[in-house]
Symmetry: C2
Subunit: 343 residues, 2 copies
């Protein structure tokens, strides 16, 4: 009997190499971990892809969706004009309880927007946030939150990101009392901009293990387990890291070509590969949603599916809501009388 | 006869390995390029350091300064309490025309503040900005401006950064019509935060070769020659890059130890070394000021001294002022009736 009776929905059409990598990743997750997977997308393409593998015994099922939101699509327009997109259908399966979580390597903005619209936001959360787990170059797996483009954030929103990130680190990365740092430009309290100075004050008042300001280099130094920032800077930070890691990898390939096929070379490549971590959880929505890099390979999709199943099993959302509720979050949306996004 | 009759002042006490690396770098610059150097700092320590080398024929001179601003010093307090600091004396030499430029590997905040106070800001410039030249992993030497912690910038200030950065790229990096990008979180015009959306509009109206929004990964893709951003995000971006490059270098040392002593390994290390570029020019002050990484080695100091001499010879400041004046800068300081920092 499987430990995961409710399947994970995979948007099989979203990634740069869809549906090939998504189908392979689903097969690996089903075979290795026994996780049932609903592959959502163009039925014929998916059946063809499945027929290339021997999957007779595996808990895999195709759920048809006739449209695809591409990486280039405008988010708002594609949501209006593509009601039967694979990502929308996949998220709807979560809302309807037919899946316990969703994985997509598609257009990040569209996945986030649809998750907010279809699943809704947790009662104590103003804005869901995307948490990226960085490669453990500094010895710890540092979580950066938000990398999901919540721009022009308020201090209270960063406080919520900190609580969500710490809960994630504790439950899913098994760090008992995660050290939370605030991304800034100097260690002292006064350093930073208006947003960080005010957020610093708020974070000091929480029971979190707040270690103060950290700097860009601390994403790799192991000084903090969770690093909090506005989604603009988080997104830039993630893309700089990916871009530099790729550029250095190319350089390493040039310079050490003869060693790269070795076991050590292979381990090197894996250790700086952002796709390997398996995707970023969207925290703060009423449901489990993991967003993978567009260039994810089958192994990354497999890891994301496992992570999503663990996320659901751990009840991360419920714990986040309880944590925020306990710490007395004043929801900005509600204070201002705006309806929640889930409306 | 030297091509550089007026010397460069070097804050010999600022860096992490002062005064050893500063003295060595000055000796190299004097020997290789015939640039006269004024070494500013504790007289006995500097003379001792010089005696360890054979420098009889070289145009080197010690200028005494009894105090040192450390990396840990609070900027405002150290400026008040250390009137005879090596960096202050070095910058004063530029103001008095005894040096044509200054190089410091010391406390960046203190160098910037003292340069603004002692040299003053160019008439059309609101805020001087620090421009970092990134390692040419993407084929071009991309300039990121501002990395000097001008936080909470206005769009007009970013427009000035763009013009200063483009002038620098054109004159010192020999790029005839530099492509200017705006650091954001998506290529389309609407993407970004309030600051970038308004700055986008302003940059479109300049005669600059504006290529639109660029993303974090474009620091290494070669898509732009100059990338403009607020100093908060620029500082974070620089430190993430340095931190990741160092972490990967450590990993490469572990994995490819046997190859690192080779010529290829050496070239690899140099190509991702941020200190090698020789320092970041502070643009927009009335005088030439180059800020080096605290961990700069002798070769980085040497390169910074050469860069500073070239910067002065090219009349970069005059060209920046002419360019800003021509493009009709509305100085925010003046519009608001605030006195210029040079007052």
């Amino acid at each position: 009997m499987s430990n995961f009776p409710v399947p994970i929905a995979v948007d099989a059409m979203g990634g740069d190499h869809a549906p090939g990598r998504e189908v392979e990743g689903a097969i690996l997750a089903a075979a290795e971990f026994g996780i049932p997977v609903l592959l959502v997308g163009e039925e014929i393409a998916l059946q063809e892809e499945l027929q290339r593998h021997s999957v007779r015994q595996l808990p895999l099922e195709v759920v048809p969706a006739s449209q695809v939101i591409t990486m280039e699509d405008d988010v708002a327009r594609s949501i209006r004009q593509k009601p039967d997109s694979s990502v929308r259908v996949a998220i709807r399966l979560v809302r309807e309880g037919k899946a316990q979580g969703v994985v997509s390597a598609g257009n990040t903005g569209a996945v986030m927007a649809l998750a907010k619209i279809l699943l809704g936001t947790l009662p104590s959360v103003d804005r869901p946030a995307l948490a990226a787990v960085f490669p453990p170059l500094g010895g710890t797996r540092t979580v950066l939150i938000d990398v999901g483009a919540n721009v022009d954030c308020k201090p209270e929103q960063l406080r919520q990101f900190a609580i969500m990130g710490a809960t994630y680190s504790r439950l899913l990365l098994n760090i008992p009392n995660p050290r939370v740092g605030l991304l800034s430009i100097g260690a002292e309290q006064g350093k930073g901009n208006e947003l960080t100075r005010e957020t610093y004050r708020l974070l000091q008042q929480t029971p979190l293990n707040f270690v103060g300001n950290v700097e860009g280099r601390d994403l790799y130094s192991g000084r903090a387990d969770v690093i909090v920032c506005d989604g603009f800077i988080g997104n830039v930070a993630l893309k700089i890291s990916e871009g530099l890691a790729e550029a250095i990898q190319r350089l390493v390939q040039e310079v050490f070509a003869d060693r790269l096929s070795s076991k050590a070379g292979d381990s090197f490549t894996r250790r700086i590969d952002y796709a390997e971590t398996g995707g970023a959880p969207l925290l703060g929505v009423r449901g489990v949603c993991t967003i993978c890099h567009g260039s994810s390979n089958a192994s990354a999709i497999k890891n994301a599916i496992r992570m999503t199943a663990e996320f659901a099993a751990a009840g991360l959302n419920e714990k986040i809501e309880a944590e925020l509720h306990k710490l007395g979050t004043k929801s900005l949306s509600r204070r201002r009388g705006r309806p929640a996004l889930s409306a």
